[in-house]
């Protein structure tokens, strides 16, 4: 069996043992659920309910504005308590629908089973996926129906399920692969039905061989689906790196996976598609790994969107040590949050609670030009040089050295012995370049 990978990258400690063998636990919401109108890349949703309205489970409460957007649904039945700005995991206050759960879980209309998706056309399936509010659930949150609608001149020959889960600590995809194997495969089969000329690949890192075996068992009679074992290396799950590992194609700078005939979807996105198409369910739940040295009992939780981080942390026995840092997502690319009174959104793959020791921010010192960042960068950039240009605000040189190709994976900052904040400086420089482009 050949193990596939990309060039360069780093090997952060896995730290997955905390939760990788823990079956997913269901956690029912308490009283209050918060649904921010931004849970995706694209135009914010517009609330279509108002204070005092009764909403049902699965009812649409936020309408997508434009094609690159995704509607938002209530994950409980109850009463709209308010429509107001609430703190979001991204750190700002976002207009949100706040629902008081009545505990009845009374379903909205239209959530019925459907067996015969094969009679549906591609456009009908895209409509179902769009109406279900499905977005990329690996964290970025790009609307799935947009990804599934490449320009007609792009011939798609590979549908790749991103099951690399290369971020340390995270195990939600791993557990889904083990416990909802058939659903993941069914989701992929639905997508393959939309792209009959494409082949399906499920890429899994070799630190999850039990998941590889489980998926292989389910797809053994599927001629069109292949499990690809990937080397455990960060950032194996970065879209361009994953495509390269599986197809040996490089997505050209500034282009999209569709330009090399690929569409990449996360594991949980596949389950969401399966739920939407076969069971009429809009996106209302996700699996969240609650972990880190500060958590009493780390777990993989199946939760409804809109529940608060606090509820999830309490369901894991709260903190055993004082947490110094709470991260929405993994430790390499996740976002540090300053409150746990924030809702789980579509992209919340994990709540990582680090102790002071785990979260220590070492002091930055001079670059010694050791070149470890050059050896690490999966995009083959020169992070040390980019850093000096970014810090001097020499954006022309920054762009000339391909700074805009940085995927912000953080491998450079991770390996840097001088503990320089490399990727942080690139993020700032990239934002400035993009803002300047918009201005001119």
């Amino acid at each position: 069996m050949s193990i596939l990978t990309f060039k360069k990258g780093v090997h952060p400690p896995h730290r997955k043992h905390l939760t990788e063998h823990k079956p997913i636990e269901y956690l029912l919401p308490k009283q209050i659920l918060v649904y921010p109108m931004i849970q995706h890349i694209g135009a914010p949703c517009e609330p279509i309910v108002k204070k005092g309205d009764r909403v049902l489970l699965g009812q649409k409460i936020g309408e997508a504005k434009g094609f690159v957007s995704a509607p938002i649904h209530s994950s409980v039945s109850g009463t709209v308590k308010d429509v107001a700005p609430v703190l979001h995991p991204n750190g700002s206050k976002i207009l949100s629908v706040i629902v008081e759960n009545d505990g009845l879980y009374e379903k909205a209309e239209g959530m019925e089973k459907r067996e015969d998706y094969k009679n549906l056309s591609k456009d009908e399936l895209i409509k179902i996926i769009q109406e279900a509010g499905i977005v990329g659930m690996g964290g970025a949150g790009f609307p799935t129906h947009v990804k599934l609608s490449p320009p007609p001149d792009k011939k798609i020959d590979s549908i790749i399920v991103n099951a690399a889960e290369c971020e340390p600590f995270l195990t939600s995809d791993h557990r889904v692969l083990l416990e909802e194997t058939q659903r993941v495969v069914d989701g992929l089969k639905i997508v393959l039905h939309m792209f009959p000329e494409a082949k399906g690949y499920i890429g899994i890192e070799d630190n999850k061989m039990d998941a590889v075996e489980a998926v292989k068992k389910v797809v053994k009679d599927e001629k069109n689906i292949e499990v690809k074992v990937l080397k455990t290396k960060y950032p194996q799950g970065a879209e361009k790196q994953l495509i390269y590992a599986i197809t040996k194609r490089e997505v050209p700078s500034g282009k999209l996976p569709a330009d090399v005939g690929c569409i990449v979807q996360n594991v949980e996105t596949m389950v969401a598609i399966e739920r939407a198409v076969l069971r009429g369910r809009p996106l209302m739940r996700r699996i969240v790994t609650v972990t880190g040295g500060a958590i009493t009992e780390p777990k993989n939780l199946n939760v409804r969107l809109g529940m608060s981080f606090r509820e999830l942390i309490e369901a894991c026995g709260g903190f055993k040590k004082e947490p110094a840092k709470i991260i929405a997502g993994g430790p390499m690319m996740g976002i540090a949050v300053f409150s746990i009174d924030i809702p789980v959104v579509k992209g919340t793959s994990a709540i990582l609670c680090l102790t002071e020791e785990e979260a220590a921010i070492p002091e930055e010192s001079n670059c010694i030009r050791c070149g470890k960042c050059v050896e690490a960068c999966p995009m083959n950039l020169l992070p040390a040089a980019l850093n000096s240009f970014a810090l001097r605000n020499d954006l022309e040189q920054f762009e000339k050295l391909h700074g805009m190709d940085c995927i912000e994976c953080g491998s450079c900052s991770f390996v840097c012995p001088a503990k320089r904040h490399l990727v942080q400086s690139f993020r700032t420089a990239k934002r400035t370049v993009i803002a300047n482009r918009k201005k001119s």
Partner: protein, 310 residues
């Protein structure tokens, strides 16, 4: 749960265990076999030169950073590494004020004037050696083995002499030369340690030594194909230069291709100086000259970016 405050910072939220101090400590460890060989062959005098040189470098850095109100960084071992390397490039018989002056020059003028660690464009120890050699040529070129003054193997080759030490003596370091350069064996052991710890890559040492091997063999000291390349690579300062000096992070290219160009360039210059130059040995000057090309090498050898469209 009471009100808690959390740190908010940019990702990544975890860092590797590598540190500058750890890397420099590995370099010191890798230099120890050669230091031990130096003391074994050149006795207590070699040890005193090393102590004077390291003390001078560390103190110079401390005093300079105090005077200029900067953060004192002697704890990162980089000044100690410079001190050891400077001592390795001095004859064992030098008066002790020589390493002291050299250390001050290396640290203050070559390293700190240009911004400290990682910012200097020339190898501090080699620049100091060049300064000392130009200023006090007599003291800097007196060699002795076992208390008896003796020319270096490359010196004998240059003069066309015949009383050459055996290859075995050259390999273990029982010959005239600078304190840390004579024992190829000890230097190779240190080099393997650095490769194992991934402090350096093979690129500069292998291409540097390989180029000297090939060129000294082909060009030869007495015409085409007259060379003894095995003897040439173990004699003189090549091992010390190729493993420890040309690989200095600050003054060598950061790109993989650039490192190969650096190694080949150093090898080319060293061979030319050895065969056609006025000096018997050319390692120091070769490296210093190549140091000056590093920015331009880096500029033109940037690797092809993933997905780059020309």
């Amino acid at each position: 749960m009471a009100e808690m405050k959390f740190t908010v910072s940019s990702s990544p939220h975890i860092r590797s265990n590598d540190t500058v101090k750890g890397i420099m400590r590995d370099v010191v460890i890798a230099l120890l076999p050669a230091a031990a060989a130096g003391v074994y062959f050149f006795k207590i005098q070699a040890l005193l030169v090393m102590i004077a040189s390291v003390a001078s470098c560390v103190l110079s850095e401390y005093v300079w950073q105090k005077l200029t109100k900067q953060k004192v960084t002697i704890g990162d071992y980089s000044a100690a590494v410079t001190g050891l390397l400077l001592a390795f490039n001095l004859p064992p018989t030098v008066p002790l004020w020589i390493p002291v002056v050299g250390g001050i020059f290396a640290i203050i003028i070559v390293k700190q004037f240009f911004g400290g660690l990682g910012q200097n464009f020339m190898n501090p120890a080699l620049a100091a050696r060049a300064f000392l050699l130009a200023s006090w040529p007599v003291q800097m070129t007196s060699w002795a083995v076992d208390g008896v003054s003796s020319a270096t193997p490359l010196g004998i080759l240059k003069e066309g002499g015949t009383a050459l030490p055996s290859l075995f003596d050259v390999f273990i370091g029982h010959v005239g030369g600078c304190i840390g350069e004579t024992s190829a064996l000890a230097l190779i052991i240190g080099g393997l340690y650095l490769l194992y710890k991934r402090v350096i890559s093979w690129r500069i040492p292998v291409t540097y030594i390989g180029t000297v091997f090939v060129l000294m063999g082909i060009l030869g000291r007495h015409g085409f194909m007259s060379g003894n390349p095995v003897y040439e690579v173990f004699a003189g300062g090549l091992m010390l230069g190729a493993i420890f000096m040309a690989t200095d992070y600050s003054t060598s290219p950061i790109t993989p291709l650039g490192q190969i160009i650096m190694g080949i360039g150093c090898g080319l210059l060293t061979s030319i100086i050895r065969i056609y130059g006025g000096y018997p040995e050319g390692v120091s000057y070769s490296i210093i000259i190549m140091n000056l090309f590093v920015p331009i090498i880096d500029k033109y050898t940037a690797p092809k970016v993933f997905g780059e469209v020309k």
